[in-house]
Symmetry: C2
Subunit: 164 residues, 2 copies
DNA sequence: CTTGACCTTCCCACCGTTGGAAGCCGCATC
DNA sequence: GATGCGGCTTCCAACGGTGGGAAGGTCAAG
């Protein structure tokens, strides 16, 4: 099976298959005499695994771990569960952060007349860095740590007293 | 005020200030004879605006629009409101997607004994692409469109019949 | 004058994915 | 056999936003 068919069958684009191979996530595919990559059903199976894990929001690094657990017949399901729950925790942190943003904006938008006049509590909030809706919104926390994939708000934005 | 102080005062790192200037989000700063960037209170004010918008999850592109609305004294608050609500919609789409992932994983994890035996419904699900928890989870929809910032699951992963 | 903290520019890395260019291959059709 | 098209190959660049670091200039205090 050529890479195109493998892509079609697995739901992973040919580009990404090559990328995953290159970065070592999946094993190097066999080649035809002409240098074409050749895939077995088994490899397509693996690709589908990868695809599904990606759909569940795992990073490529996480998928590598999942794959090795998958292949390890003497794995402990506890390890898999731990990974899954860790990821769920990360997702929930993200969700909370996004919800906080949405709530703030929603509140601000509700306070905005939304007509042809220029006065706008949304801009006012952005300008003053905290106003109207502040008491209604649960306050952002920013620090996402480990879970950069979603939005690189990682760590802190300012050095503050970085070096010290 | 040097860039360091401006960073400290605005909460935007010096690196990002230079980047924003370079990409045209903010205006080029005045320079001292030695070539140092020099910032007024007003510019710090703008930087705080940018920072706050970023905290609310706006993309740099979105912030550019917000800034121009902010500076336009004859703006219509309706335009601002529309932007805000559009962004809220994007956030909510993200949130739904993440929640769906989290729910699926949570359910799977709950079905996993989490001991030293290898049997694991989580891996099973990844393997078969849909199993146990399937009927409990609301089904992912993937397509995020415009709102790539969170996780580039953008569009579809496979060409499928893309061109047609 | 030296030291150290700051500033300058420039280039690189991350993550995952897509796009394109340049060049071969396979197959079908003439 | 020649031509052509679609697939395959590799390589390089881009996206968002951010941080890291090198190599060098500057400023203020000692």
């Amino acid at each position: 099976m050529n890479i195109g068919q493998a892509a079609e069958a697995s739901g992973v684009s040919a580009k990404m298959i090559r990328y995953y191979e290159q970065t070592g996530l999946i094993r190097r595919a066999a080649r035809t005499d002409a240098g074409y990559r050749s895939y077995s059903e088994d490899e397509v199976h693996t690709l589908r695994f990868v695809r599904r894990a990606r759909d569940l929001g795992f990073t490529v690094e996480g998928i590598a771990e999942l794959l090795s657990l998958w292949r390890d017949r003497s794995r402990h399901s506890a390890d898999v569960k731990e990974m899954a729950l860790g990821h769920v925790a990360g997702l929930n942190r993200k969700i909370a952060e996004l919800q906080s943003m949405a709530a703030t904006l929603q509140t601000l938008a509700e306070c905005c007349s939304g007509d042809d006049r220029p006065d706008c509590p949304i801009l006012q909030d952005l300008e003053t860095g905290a106003s109207a809706a502040e008491e209604f919104s649960p306050r952002r926390f920013g620090v996402l740590g480990e879970f950069e994939a979603i939005r690189p708000a990682s760590k802190r934005r300012t050095p503050r007293r970085e070096s010290a």
